[in-house]
Amino acid sequence: MPIVLIVAEQQPDGHLRKASLNAIGAGKQLADKAGAELHIAILGKDPAKVVDELKTTGAKAVHVGAAAELEHYLAETYAPVLSTLATELKADYVGMASTAQGKDLMPRLAARLKAAMATDITGLNGSGADITFTRPMWAGNVFAEVKLTTPVKVFTVRATEFAAAAGGQAAAEVKTFAPKIEASKTKFVEFKEVKSARPELTEARVVISGGRGTKGDFKEIEALADDLGAAVGASRAVCDAGWVPNDLQVGQTGKVVAPALYIAAGISGAIQHLAGMKSSKTIVAINKDAEAPIFQVADYGIVADLFKVLPELRAELQKLK
């Protein structure tokens, strides 16, 4: 039986990265189409905490590789361990969420497995041995159907396009193994976490993003975000200027989000930004310029100064409470 292996990711704080559940969801879809068995791999210094969560997501087995050297993620230590595991399992497909780690690790692993790879897949087509992937190109202006012809096929998953695997299913077999650690030419130095009390951008139900129109003043955006329990996002222009941390960037080359509600304030709507938020369920645009391209994708647009609209919006929403 063919094997689909999904690599899950543990966050530096020990929790499972939620996008892993979407990748498992995609893996399950693939396993169904390909008539394959779903397996999960997790590496780390102490992955026990996430194993419990992974165990009940519907996989046949969870492969757990723990070692002190795996505390800080490095492509050079993770790729050989996963390559050995995938080879021993005779995995036909290896996938992971398109997180920063997924994007760094999967191509290196693919190179080791002499596999072709599809990045950021948004769909799966076909059945049996004849599976193809749908993936975006040109900032989401084009969707391509691609076929990988190498024996092993590697992919990363755009989390917003696949439902998260639900927990509570029959427990998978947990198989621990001792990872063989190869010497790395790269050393982990430090990780500076941007801590936020707000929900994560890619997981939030509501996202409020600011653009250059804010001139760097995010106070109103943050206040509204706090009222709504929303995450804060930004256009590239804002990150470049250093007004907000880089990892808030939404877009082709930043994060892809698809919340129930996306509010874009003072963002013009360049295609590179749209690529990251166009799949949001409802989009609201606040912009002074009635011709701004953002209005072409917004369900509701309001042509006005964001510094006037945002406080009014907060006041109106308060009334509903």
Binding site: A75, K103, K114, V146, L148, W243
Partner: protein, 265 residues
């Protein structure tokens, strides 16, 4: 330092991309081409590193003769030499990385800098494949801590820092929820994120000088690489269009719509 930087030819990011009705490709008419923006950032970083530590920047591009335009652009920015791998027809990431590997083995640079992704295919793979093929360390999504409007940026300081013993580089990377710093022994592979630097404009004297700088021509055959693609692009399609929305006159109407129509608040 000797730095090898890649320069892919891509459609201008401002271009309107349209899929051909039969899904076999994109409409080429009226498109303008540029060096991949991430690669331009790579050239800039290379130039800053050699300005600080002395050395040479060699640019490489793979494609038909038209990619010489992108090589000339990099030379006009200040790169010293160029390598053109002449190949027309499809190439996948495995093929591209294998060709760059051969060029790197020939040139023996201290660092190869690539873009984190190309803005046409958006694959984000070549740098990592290359690092594995070469057996080198990798630091992807290299970034700058300071704002691109900071004094450091105006002084054109490289963001990739050579260690005191000059045997490694420290690279700050954009990752989920923060910034990670890695130290890679040289030689290494670095891929650029957007916030690494602000690339310079090519000056007029730069453009004139670029005309006389050498471009070496190679081919996959000369490099001994089989580039038969392992990825087949079967067809292209446009994404479903979003239904045009409405403009609302005031905030009260907006909230009413969000509550009663969209049901999101």
């Amino acid at each position: 330092m000797k730095i090898l930087v890649t320069a892919k030819r891509v459609e201008d990011p401002e271009s309107k991309i349209k899929v051909k009705p039969d899904g076999s490709g994109i409409v080429q008419e009226g498109l303008k081409y540029k060096i991949n923006p991430f690669d331009e950032i790579g050239v800039e970083e290379g130039l800053r590193l050699v300005a600080k530590h002395t050395g040479e920047v060699v640019v490489v591009s793979i494609g038909g003769k038209e990619v010489q335009e992108q090589l000339r652009h990099a030379l006009a920015m200040g790169a010293h030499r160029a390598v053109w791998v002449n190949h027309t027809g499809p190439l996948d990431q495995l093929g591209i990385a294998a060709l760059i590997q051969k060029v790197a083995e020939k040139e023996k640079p201290d660092l190869v800098i690539l873009g984190k992704q190309s803005i046409d295919d958006d694959q984000n793979q070549v740098g990592q494949y290359l690092a594995e093929f070469l057996g080198w360390g990798q630091a992807t999504f290299a970034s700058k801590v300071e704002s691109l409007e900071s004094a450091e940026e105006k002084n054109k300081e490289p963001a990739v820092k050579l260690t005191a013993d000059k045997k490694a580089v420290q690279v700050v990377r954009e990752v989920d929820n923060g910034l990670a710093t890695l130290e890679c022994q040289l030689p290494a592979v670095v891929t650029t994120d957007l916030r690494l630097n602000q690339p310079r404009y090519a000056s007029l004297p730069g453009i004139m000088k670029a005309k006389s700088k050498p471009i070496e021509e190679l081919t996959p055959e000369k490099l001994g690489v089989n580039v038969t693609p392992q990825i087949q692009v079967l067809k292209l399609a446009s994404p479903p269009a979003r239904k045009a929305g409405i403009k609302v006159p005031d905030v009260a109407t907006l909230v009413d719509k969000l509550r009663n129509e969209a049901k999101v608040v």
